[in-house]
Amino acid sequence: MFVFLSRRLLFLVATLLVVSFLVYLLNEAAPGDVARKILGPYATLEQIALLTEELGLNRSVFIRYGEWLGGLFTGDLGYSTLFKAPVGEIIWDRLANTALLAVIAFALIVPLSIVLGVAAGMRESAALDRSISLASIITTSIPEFASGVFLASIFAIWLGWLPGTSTLVRDGGWSITSQLVLPVAVMVLYDLGYVVRMVRASMADVMREPYIRTAVLKGLSWPEVVFRHALRNALIAPFTVILLQINYLVTGVVVVEMIFAYPGFGRMMLEAALAQDIALIEAGVVVAVFIAVSTQILGDLAYMILNPRVRLR
């Protein structure tokens, strides 16, 4: 257990170092570009040289990466050239906004996917299974921008029940809660079908096991077979899949944030990438990789605890 954890944590740190250095290399391979991006197309060459000098961009990439890494350990994330403010003042607010969407969406996805997945998987190929499976194929097939447009045209434009933008500012009399409905709906619609299919596959596998046949043949009632015998084993495998959705919900929602003008983490990263705002990109990448790898570690750990037959290296 201890060996497993320390190996995985080492992998986490190594991934963070490798990825952040690669991003640094990529973004700063051409130092002139950064100053040009900040000053715009009409700046003179002297002005650009001056700013490059001032920002210290003419020194070696390795030295600057070292400095940035040093800053990271003292809690200094650098200065955002796009927002003209320290990165620490921007990134946590944006992350908190996205986390708000993620928490609500996750709280809906987990129970819904378990109920639908178990209902579909308990009687393979029955009418209920076929309709749930088909519905989940179709909902995962709709790109987020398309479901955003579909839902907004129905509920915001046609019916007028909900706001079409979610800026988290109380404008036009729409409460913050009402602004969260459509973005969360798009996220749930896109992600739910995938998780449902995972739960269904696992449930269907368990229902084919000999011990389930024994339980049925010895005359247990159907709810007893499903809830007391099948459910526990069927939820072990999808548990990891469900945890991994956190990853998508926090770092993958850029499209939803764009459609609804939501001030979140993904949109911030898009803006930072387009403006080549290196400090903000780096901080965002570190956060994103940290979330990704730590949810994986959490998933593996949980799997090990839930399933004593598994030994992890």
């Binding site: 992998f11 991934t15 490798v18 990825v19 991003v23 990529l26 973004n27 499976s133 088909l134 194929i137 179709i138 995962t140 097939s141 709709i142 790109p143 987020e144 921008f145 398309a146 955003g148 447009v149 579909f150 907004a152 045209s153 915001a156 434009i157 079409g164 992600d191 995938y194 299919r197 995972m198 596959a201 899949v241 991994l244 959705q245 990853n247 998508y248 770092t251 993958g252 850029v254 499209v255 764009m258 459609i259 993904g266 990263m269 898009l270 990438a273 387009l274 080549q276 990109i281 965002g284 990448v285 994103a288 990789v289 990704a292 790898v293 994986q296």
Partner: protein
């Protein structure tokens, strides 16, 4: 979409099919309603892409300024015009061509890299396995959409960059599937026979193992075409990757969704197009899996 690998049909790998059996598979696919609908949707868009120059009544980038007064569908512009007075039918048809050229190339490239990685990892094993799978873990742990944003914002819009970015991020998950299939197929008698004849490892990997893994790989490839279509649409929507003048469905939504409250048709139509193509790929994959499961 960053979520992992699709479910594979049990026992679908490894049974070599004679030619007539493949025709029988196609026949069974057409008889399953889900598979037939998927095939029909995909075939429809492939036909639109092939005959785009014949279908499109106007140049996809030509502006009809007279239509700006009323861009809704009319006798001249069957599906209306967009925010710049460009004919939506024409842009839809040329956009079908854009997506159906880029997506298959990107998926093929991902398969070329992924199959090589997976075969080496699964067949050679040992250090090659450890190295390749660790490398895959690093790439897979990185949030795909953020990777696309950073790389494509840096290298600028071009179809080649999009293909490379998609292939690079999809290859590791193809590699995992191929590795699993390779581990399974390596124990088959015909692989042992080839080894005893003294065939080289390359021959065994590409002639004995890979062709026999094609069942599950075709199903996965179909699903991956669907994901990749979504990815290309998203990149177009975010304004990353594809040159703005090439009509692409995601870009059509990006240009017009701000006008949704006045002219919803401008964004609803391309959204419907991309959704129907992705549904087509995914239903086709489901039909193929069902057919493979029957065998």
């Amino acid at each position: 979409m960053s979520t992992g690998s699709p479910i594979l049909p049990p026992g679908a790998a490894g049974e070599p099919l004679p030619r007539t059996a493949e025709l029988a598979t196609l026949w069974r696919l057409l008889r399953s309603p889900v598979g037939a609908l998927g095939l029909a949707l995909v075939a429809f868009w492939v036909a639109v892409a092939l005959f785009a120059p014949l279908i499109a009544p106007f140049e996809p980038n030509a502006n009809d300024y007279l239509a700006l007064a009323d861009p809704t569908p009319s006798g001249v512009h069957w599906l209306g015009t967009d925010n710049l007075g460009r004919d939506i039918v024409s842009r839809l048809a040329w956009g079908a061509r854009t997506v159906l050229v880029i997506v298959p190339i990107a998926v093929a490239a991902a398969y070329a890299i992924g199959c090589l990685m997976g075969l080496l990892a699964g067949y050679i094993g040992g250090w090659a396995d450890t190295l390749l799978m660790r490398l895959s873990d690093v790439i897979l742990s990185f949030p795909v959409i953020i990777l696309y944003m950073i790389v494509l914002a840096h290298f600028g819009p071009s179809a080649i960059n999009v293909i490379l970015a998609v292939a690079f991020t999809a290859a590791p998950s193809v590699a995992r599937i191929v590795r699993g299939l390779t581990l399974d197929l390596s124990n088959r008698p015909y692989v042992a026979a080839a080894r005893l004849r003294g065939e080289s490892p390359w021959y065994v990997m590409f002639v004995e193992i890979l062709p026999n893994a094609r069942g599950p790989l075709i199903v996965d490839g179909c699903l991956r075409m669907g994901y990749t279509t979504i990815a290309i649409g998203v990149l177009g929507f975010l304004g990353l990757g594809l040159p703005p003048d090439d009509p692409n469905w995601g870009g059509m939504v990006k240009d017009t969704y701000a006008l949704m409250s006045v002219y919803p048709h401008m964004s609803l139509i391309p959204c419907g197009a991309i959704t129907s193509l992705v549904i087509g790929f995914n239903l086709l994959a489901d039909g193929l899996r069902e057919v493979a499961g029957d065998e």
